[in-house]
């Protein structure tokens, strides 16, 4: 496996397509596209696709381009790991994206190191979630969703949902930081597995929303 992950960036922003490689020197940007359709028309081999959640498409182009969960599914059908790159913070929206097959979520406001770390982890098959999804994991677990978390995983998720630092969590649970991160990663995988096997309506009900309240099927 190459040291530098090969990344395709799909984002309707010209600035992000042009500047992504400069801002993230630890990844190898092998292609940038404004839409999923253009990537499908001229694909390149890559380890991870960095995907903007909301794609407007080129001006004058077709009014409806694949985006959101449809875009994720199109890329997953090609066997490509997808890491979302978005400012969307609503946990249920992000949860439905994980359900559609995304492996990770990074906010555009996060520092470059977070994105580079997320790309590396997604390439290794790990699940990368944002703070809002950590809160959602705790919420789903407390409301009886079948995530099957162990008590340690539950403790780590509960602490991370409260924003506690890794060193603090490790100290209070008498484990190493690496062990705490392993519990966390395992809980994130369980979240993704749960989401993949649960209908959108059930997910929305589990968090107290009516079906379709947040994001209708595109």
């Amino acid at each position: 496996m190459n040291a530098r992950p090969r990344v395709v960036v799909i984002d309707d922003s010209t600035v992000i397509r042009g500047g992504f490689a400069t801002v993230h020197p630890e990844v190898d940007v092998v292609g940038t596209y404004p839409t999923v359709e253009e990537f499908e028309a001229d694909p390149v081999a890559c380890d991870v696709v960095v995907l903007d959640l909301l794609l407007r498409g080129p001006q004058g182009g077709p009014p409806a381009v694949k985006q959101g969960r449809a875009a994720i599914r199109a890329l997953r059908e090609r066997g490509l790991p997808v890491c979302l790159y978005t400012d969307e913070r609503r946990a249920v929206v992000l949860a439905l994206c994980l359900r559609a097959g995304a492996h990770g979520v990074v906010h555009k406001s996060d520092p470059p190191a977070v994105m580079q770390s997320a790309v590396a982890q997604v390439r290794e098959g790990r699940v990368v979630v944002t703070q809002s999804l950590v809160g959602l994991t705790e919420l789903l677990d407390r409301r009886g969703a079948r995530l099957d978390l162990t008590s340690r995983q539950r403790q780590v998720i509960s602490a991370r949902a409260r924003g506690r630092a890794w060193s603090d969590i490790a100290g209070s649970l008498y484990i190493t930081e690496d062990t705490a991160r392993e519990h966390y990663q395992a809980a994130c995988r369980k979240l993704r597995d749960y989401l993949a096997s649960t209908s959108p309506g059930d997910i929305e009900r589990a968090v107290g929303l009516g079906p379709g309240d947040v994001l209708a099927e595109e």
Binding site: D110, Q131, G135, L139, A161, R162, G163, A165, S167, D168
Partner: protein, 387 residues
Amino acid sequence: MNGTGPATPGSAARGAERGIALVAPAMRAVVLAQIALNVPAGARVASHPLAYAALSVTAIAVSLLLIVQCLRTGTARRGVWHGPDLVVAWAAIPAMNLLLPASHVVGTWEAWASGFAINVGAIAAAWLRPVPAVGHGVALGGWSLLWAASAGTTSWETALGNALTVPGYTVVVSLLVHHLRRLAAEADRSRDEVVAATRALELERYQLAVHDASSVLRLLSDEDTPAEVLPGLRRQADREAKRLRHYLGGELPVSGGGELTIGSMLATALEGFEDLPLEPAVELGAHARLSEDVWQAVGRAVTTVLHNVRIHAEARQVVIHADTDDDRWELVISDDGVGFDQRDQPLGFGLNTQAGQVLRDRGVEVRIRSTPGEGTSVTMSGPVMPE
């Protein structure tokens, strides 16, 4: 001299001194009246009437000057006539033996020196420290005993009894004056402590009132404050202005009449902090009900913590997490900013008082954890208010 602290105008110490400076001249005036009444009779039987009269007039004159001195200065502690007063008392005792017949030396007011000595000893206790005053009283009594015994006209028991009156009264007055001054000093100290505590309370009340407003004003006045922050700051400035108007009017702002839950509290407290990278996760605890004063105090604390985050933390993420088990609620605000070392960096007024003491006073537990480079976490928890 007795020294129990400065007697500032209006103080209890000053009042006590004035009281002593009134009682001492009054005691002397009584003695003077008795002397004045008996001087003519004494002069008639004195071997040297002129000398007797001169001594008596000197005693009266010195006493009058002492009385005026006490009344004018308002204290019996200082003045130039205390020394001459002692000299007259010590000189008058042998003079009675020399000037009056032996039969008049003991037990009469023609021989006024004994009565005068008792009063001089007692007044000396008002301007000498207790130990020197009692020592002087004992010496003066001994001096009186010596000359009374030398007259040979009475038993030694009677002479001793008369002589003991001098140190006896000195001890009584010394105790009284010392006690009075100590009480006055304690009263002044207590008053000073009350004044200091009141000032501290007022300062704290003022700090509570202006702490958040000062943060908002500082950012509004700073030309480097990003433009996107300004709309939120203006809304907060408007809210602070309303709160300060309530404060100036002596009324507490009301919560608005809605349901008093963690959710409604946060909806108000988070307003204007859109510039911060807030990550609210409050679904688990938003419905927990709070009493009105806890709702107010926790809301202020949340605002204060977020002002601190905005100014100091350089945070990439600020988690606001609420939870409840229906008996107790918990609210955590954690940032991943610069943090601080709790061992050598004391909490500022905002965290210590506004987010600490004010909440503890209302039964809310507060825990603050911070590590340099790993951010700061404030956890508040308290009982859920029953339906």
